[in-house]
Amino acid sequence: MAEVLVVVESSGGTVKKVTLEMLTLARSLGEPAAVVLGAPGTAAPLVDKLGEYGAVKVYAAESTEIDEHLVAPKATALAQLVKAVSPAAVLIGSTQEGKEIAGRLAVKLDNGVLTDVVELAADGTATQVAFAGSTIVKSKVTKGLPLVTVRPNSLTPSPAAASPSMEPVEVALADTDKLAVVTKRVAEAKGARPELTEASIVVSGGRGVASAENFKIIEELADLLGAAVGASRAATDSGFYPHAFQVGQTGKTVSPQLYIAVGISGAIQHRAGMQTSKTIVAVNKDTEAPIFELADFGVVGDLNQVVPQASEEIRKRR
């Protein structure tokens, strides 16, 4: 069976959920082989988890140069690996960096690339969701191998134990791979909450929340549900919540099991980032708010009453 390369995304020694989803997808296409691209020592702590989800091999392309330069060295390492192992497909997370690696790889290999893929069939047919979640597109790479970026939360990861061997990959970088130098990485406080794009529950607040302080009622409900906190653009533009948490066309795309929109009207650009959520719940005082058109359950009322009461009720039932 041909190998399917899965580019690993990790953070602080932990494999990101999208990687487990891609390994699950890869198993339906061939033999999953995980590819770790990073500083020396990145791969070792990830191997067990990658094995749990079926990686039969872990390619470790590790060097300080990969870590110190933006994107380009990763694409070079990956291109060398693709040429060496001729995989059946290459799966990369549909994240900012994932898409960027994919773009470079496409040029290097003169290979088509498809982004934001939610399904990939064994014959290479990809399913993409376009235009704010309103359109489903079936597409295919016609030149080269299926090179796709997979949207986080498009499928449920399922374990299938394998015991991967670790294979070091020597990387020969070109001078043009080392033009952009990363001099600093800053993690901005995100606390203990799950990553927005990975969370199975997201509670988002909009302009209706009315102030930064008042976002505490959103955070309180989120914490009771083990959820991530999101925000509409009106809320981030007004400085109620940091921009990194914006959901929508110009923010993050989320696809959780449950999305709770609080004080959000449901503009088309907001929907673009949350429309594919499994279940949608809305709280809004305006019964005509468009968000109710897509909500499975809606409460028409003042969020300042409804949300704290809901939090209180969850506490009571524990």
């Binding site: 953070s11 933006l70 994107v71 380009a72 900012q96 898409k99 960027e100 994919a102 773009g103 470079r104 496409a106 040029v107 003169d110 290979n111 690339v113 498809l114 982004t115 235009f131 979640g133 359109t135 597109v137 079936k138 597409s139 790479v141 016609t142 030149k143 033009l179 952009a180 130098v181 001099t183 990485r185 800053v186 901005e188 995100k190 529950i201 990194a244 066309q249 110009t250 099991q257 088309i268 650009q269 429309q275 279940t279 949608i280 719940v281 019964t287 897509l294 499975d296 359950f297 809606g298 409460v299 028409v300 009322g301 003042d302 409804v306 009461q309 809901a310 209180e312 009720e313 969850i314």
Partner: protein, 259 residues
């Protein structure tokens, strides 16, 4: 400093957008076509650099006839001129092909700096800046929320999932920007009038030395097989809060096993 700004015309994301039934391409005829939102931030950033350091700002667009309207609109914000790549053979071009054409056009302009949007609202690819950097051998500083220029040295704050990274490079480089970087200006009346007289050079594939079979339908490396509208979500249950709305909400969450 010589700056090229990449501007793509896209169908307005605030209205319904469709793919065409016949060839699966974006239906531009029925859409309200506008400048890709992130590209307005790219234009603004270029103009601010020009104000601080001098030089020249050129808009570059690849797109059909109607993209000319967006070019004029871009010019009304202040750039000096534009290049419009237009050719019938470009119909059906995918991202890989677009990067070939834009790279050829950029080479000809030989800028110090290319500024683009971080992503387009129709494709949402986020692939173009790195594709171009790969082809041109430029440094790529992408996803910027802040850009500082000192001589030929560029420093960018790049937005990441976790926070941000500081990334530096020397020109020639391509920088892509998010909407957090600045607040784009509105064109003034004077700007709109002046834009009418600014030079817009049209270039064909032959002018750029790109073979027609490398782009368009012939050269595409991907194909759309079919498309359909996602069934619209239907409204579910809606309750009016009369004092127990929060409890009703938790009842629902509990019936769906979320609590």
């Amino acid at each position: 400093m010589k700056i090229v700004v990449l501007v793509k015309q896209v169908p307005d994301s605030g209205a319904e957008r469709n793919l065409r039934a016949d060839d699966n391409t974006v239906d531009r005829a029925s859409a309200n076509n506008v400048i890709n939102e992130m590209d307005e931030y790219a234009i603004e950033e270029a103009l601010r650099l020009q104000e601080a350091h001098g030089g020249e700002v050129t808009v570059l667009t690849m797109g059909p006839e109607r993209a000319a309207e967006s070019i004029r609109k871009a010019l009304s914000m202040g750039p000096d001129g534009a290049v419009h790549v237009i050719d019938d053979a470009l119909a059906g071009t995918d991202a890989l092909g677009t990067s070939k054409v834009l790279a050829a056009a950029i080479s000809e302009l030989a800028p110090d700096l290319v500024i683009s949007g971080a992503e387009s609202t129709d494709a949402r690819g986020q692939v173009m800046p790195h594709m171009l950097a790969e082809r041109l051998g430029f440094a790529a500083l992408t996803g910027a929320r802040k850009l500082t220029v000192e001589g030929s040295q560029l420093t960018v704050e790049r937005q990441t999932e976790e926070g941000y990274e500081v990334v530096t490079a020397a020109t020639p480089a391509i920088v892509s920007v998010w909407d957090t970087i600045n607040e784009p200006r509105y064109p003034s009346f004077k700007g709109i009038m002046a834009a009418k007289k600014k030079p817009v050079a049209t270039k064909s594939l032959a002018d750029l030395g790109v073979a027609a079979d490398q782009v368009g339908w012939a050269g595409a490396a991907t194909t759309v097989l079919s498309h359909s509208k996602r069934p619209a979500r239907s409204a579910g249950q809606k309750v009016a809060d009369s004092g127990e709305g929060g409890v009703a909400l938790v009842d629902y969450l509990s019936s769906e096993k979320f609590v």
